[in-house]
Symmetry: D2
Subunit: 336 residues, 4 copies
């Protein structure tokens, strides 16, 4: 039984992590931290958890943490996380970091994208990128895992097989993505006020979403070839899920059947990737750790559809998947 702390536990990904860990047979939540003025019993912050967990949220105290936890799920925001992760590691904990602070290998790129100086450059290189389907072996031996962004998870899993097989041009890729509103976090804002967001869809962050370089890095790392992606996110009025429609320029002819087979082969044995023979639906992956993928072709383009739950495979579920790997547990534990 490992003891798990959740650092910065007031957002949606933290709540989801708690829900998952409550069903995990080898992990126990022992410590929840929040900013001092947000501290309260966890069930005041997440009333849905009443009767399932009875812990306070407390200000982070490193001594207590060291005593209480073996692993930390660090749910702090970008830019804040890198101030805490080194201390968590120094205290001997294994860390799954939900922020972007350890995802990009190049601190200069990080600085351009997140518009702040990286204060923990040395640690970056030892962070494993937590997408198990592509980087499982590196994760297993890491003490720090950079949990991927939600959009990059769906995009990378959609594109990896095509790029690996060099079936598409690596500089002509469009990823059209639609996210539910939990992706915007648990902070009131007029744009996400119910009567503004309900029955609505809009694109945003044109040409500049922070997940664009992350997607490119994953695919470049995985294939060894510089990959360029136009990533265009949209948000729509539903709670959970990401739907990505990917359009690529084919380099070779291949039948639809062979294309599908290629995906089946690539993801054979993967417990959380389901290759479909038709476009996935967000509702079939909501509340699960699955990524549903359908590769196909039309009008001279290669296309891939992929769908995940942004809070689970796109955040908390993948974090627990990574936790299972670094702890030597069955990878699916708590997740099926």
């Amino acid at each position: 039984m490992i003891k798990v702390a959740i650092i910065g536990a007031t957002g949606y990904t933290a709540r989801e992590s708690i829900e998952i860990l409550l069903r995990h047979s080898l992990a126990e939540i022992t410590y929840l931290t929040a900013l001092p003025d947000e501290c309260a019993p966890v069930t005041d912050i997440f009333p849905s958890l009443r009767g399932r967990i009875d812990l306070p949220m407390e200000p982070l105290d490193m001594d207590i943490l060291t005593n209480k936890a073996d692993v930390a799920l660090c749910c702090l925001p970008h830019r804040v996380s890198m101030g805490f992760v080194p201390r968590l590691l120094a205290a001997g904990l294994k860390v799954i970091d939900f922020s972007a602070d350890y995802r990009l290998h190049d601190p200069d790129l990080y600085q351009r994208v997140y518009m702040t100086h990286h204060t923990d450059r040395d640690t970056i290189s030892e962070a494993a990128f937590g997408l198990p389907e592509l980087f499982r072996s590196a994760i297993k031996s890491a003490r720090l895992v950079a949990n991927p962004g939600c959009y990059p998870t769906a995009a990378a899993l959609a594109l990896a097989p095509l790029l690996k097989e060099q079936l598409i041009a690596c500089d002509d890729i469009v990823v059209n993505a639609i996210s539910g509103v939990t992706g915007a976090g648990r902070k009131a804002a007029l744009a996400f006020h119910f009567p503004e967001m309900n029955e609505n869809i809009f694109g945003y962050a044109v040409g500049e979403h922070r997940h664009m370089p992350e997607i490119e890095q994953i695919l470049t790392d995985f294939t060894g070839r510089k990959t360029k992606v136009l990533f265009q996110p949209h948000v729509a009025g539903f709670d959970r899920g990401i739907y990505e429609s990917v359009y690529c320029h084919p380099l070779e002819k291949i039948s639809d059947d062979m294309l599908l087979q290629l995906y089946h082969d690539f993801y054979a044995g993967e417990p959380f990737v389901r290759v479909l023979a038709k476009p996935p639906a967000v509702k079939d992956v909501a509340f699960t750790n699955f990524c549903d993928i359908f590769p196909t072709q039309a009008r001279g383009k290669m296309m891939v559809f992929s769908a995940i739950d942004n809070l689970i495979k796109g955040a908390a579920g993948q974090a627990v998947q990574n936790m299972n790997l670094i702890c030597g547990f069955e990878e699916t534990m708590g997740l099926l």
Copy 2:
């Protein structure tokens, strides 16, 4: 052609008023005001209106107002409105006030309910209560109309026939109400953040909603008998509409058919009340100025269902209906 100013024009009821007035053949919007730091072209604040209206929102200037407008729709919040209405009247305008400041006849009751001293007590008595179906003649001759609350509109129209005919006890009435989220206004708050409110329903303000005394006053005024109501509001994850289910204690036996006929007779000739033979549906009144009503009986109770669009019959539409009355226009103008 009358000239209309909208005072405090940044909320949902103001936007709805603009939409309605743009289709009104005898009224023209000439002046929109907002707090100084919220001023901007109206189409920046309400992008849906681009191409239909081209006015700035300006800080209120009484001289300009006097020149530009014959009628003011005053969309200011409770407590703020009573600071402006006397000046609007003094400037010779006719005023439809959306706030609660002139709804309750008794300033002491106002003070208990709105927890502030009423600063314009003298004007209260000359305000007509703007529910045309019950108080049309008083409205016609008023220069100030207190536009009713959304919940009281649906409740009073549901109950007036029963109470007038003394078919129910006037001290054993339950009004169970469900509102869409626009009823909470256009201000971001965690409770109405999309992922909190979507797929959700909850009751609130148990025993203390401000519309409870308003409902009681309307019905007491209309019938001349002290009426007591338990009004219980709920909010659910949809945009527009109010659904009220009313449960009463019958004093007399009456057949369902006669009950229905009584409502048909009571509302004969009313352009905006539709008496139905089955429970109404919110979606059938959304985006309209109608109130749909179904009176019936079951298990020894009298029941009435009523449904309105909270932003239209519950606010902006009723305001224009009142404006039509005080200006001598066809009552339905702009509203069908």
Copy 3:
């Protein structure tokens, strides 16, 4: 490890049962049946289950069933179930029946309500009514459990403490209920076509919903006093959950604090009832087996709010809770 069959496994409550049982550590799904023309792999019918279960849906074969299962969750429709339950029992299985066929003790009442002759009258008397919080001991020793209706579950849990303590009149009770659309089942119909139901709310079955006599029977049984309820259901455009607002006539004075304490005491030790100090929210019980309850008073009425997930505490979760009881498992197994 017990072996569980699900009979009639194509609807929402069956899917929910599968999801719950997949997380149950002492139960295994071994057999899924459907009508011959609806048979297919379970993952074709419920694509969200791909990767988690790999069984066919097969036409029911009693010999196979006898070999494969110890317990049957019978998800057949009303009127159909009573044709199969006797055979399931005769085959030695324990049965949790989701239909209404064994809920009403009086077959004549059943006939009036469900408008068909009851063809298995003898078995009715041995069915335990599966609301563990009120009838736990009877359930434990039963081989047939009539799983309660969704509305009655929320209503009975809301009212039982008040009625037991004789704090309210037992003939003046109004239950105003709002259900999500899964309550209408998984059958396409114009009324529940997305563009008709979305953003909509309406009342239905005025004075004649089949759950009204069921609620009355539960409360009469539990208290030993004839109880009469006006139950009025509504459906609103959301997926899961029931919200009930109950209005009663008090017989005694009691402080709000004592009222709350009475509920805390009544439900002390109950793992799935959460007594709150404010109105519950449907979203806090969605996807859980909890019933959240808030008793209070206003304007001379006693009021109780209760909320459940109609598919879980209102169906599949409660069925598993009952299964746990009849199998001697921990009552919460698979449900937290």
Copy 4:
């Protein structure tokens, strides 16, 4: 005052047409037809219209039609419409046809796409394609207008300026589209059953949607250059609106400012196209006849976002716009 008949008036586009025409000052609805077994008062079929219109739906009778109407809005389904349109024309009516039957110039293409023989080939050539922003002069003099599909309206308005100026390759265009569920019509089906469609998004009709050749034809006609488009539709859980994100291969360098200016110039004077400086939002065009467009560039692609209400600019509103043109009315009448 012209007299308008609506043929096949039981669907969403017919209802929307009625709503618009009720606000039209020079048109009057005189005749509504439906299949014999769907005939009923229009307010039984569309309860939201009670109190606004009082007409029966009747089986189509050509004699009555000839007497009662000058113009027909023909809302019949594809394949059915071509059986009636010749008779409507022969009776001397002007016709706006909502179906696809007269949209495609090439009857062989029609046959491949709609999988039926075209039975009225002669009339095809005299039908004007009813996209006023691109084909206004042809519409003005037509007696038959083929009202465009919803998706093609948004796509063609997004792409026309770029293609006309030859700024993009005409054989490398991706249109990613998301539609609300009214686009699927008013017919119950499991896929659009509320609990299946709510909180859901999925792609469909990969490489084979019927609007793909329609989009290509419009753009080829307009530019005189063969244009090829990969059109990929998705449906999401909201009522009204289409959101299209278009990705193109640029042929020339142009600044973002000049690109925006080009769109402003192209659509100067158009009452229903709004060129924006940021991505549009579906909710800003819902319930309007506007098309909101934002052209931009990112990662070496040209991109255009466009949004319409599928029932209005994508159907009924555009039909009335066309009706206004062929009748010589102000083009915006009834539509602002």
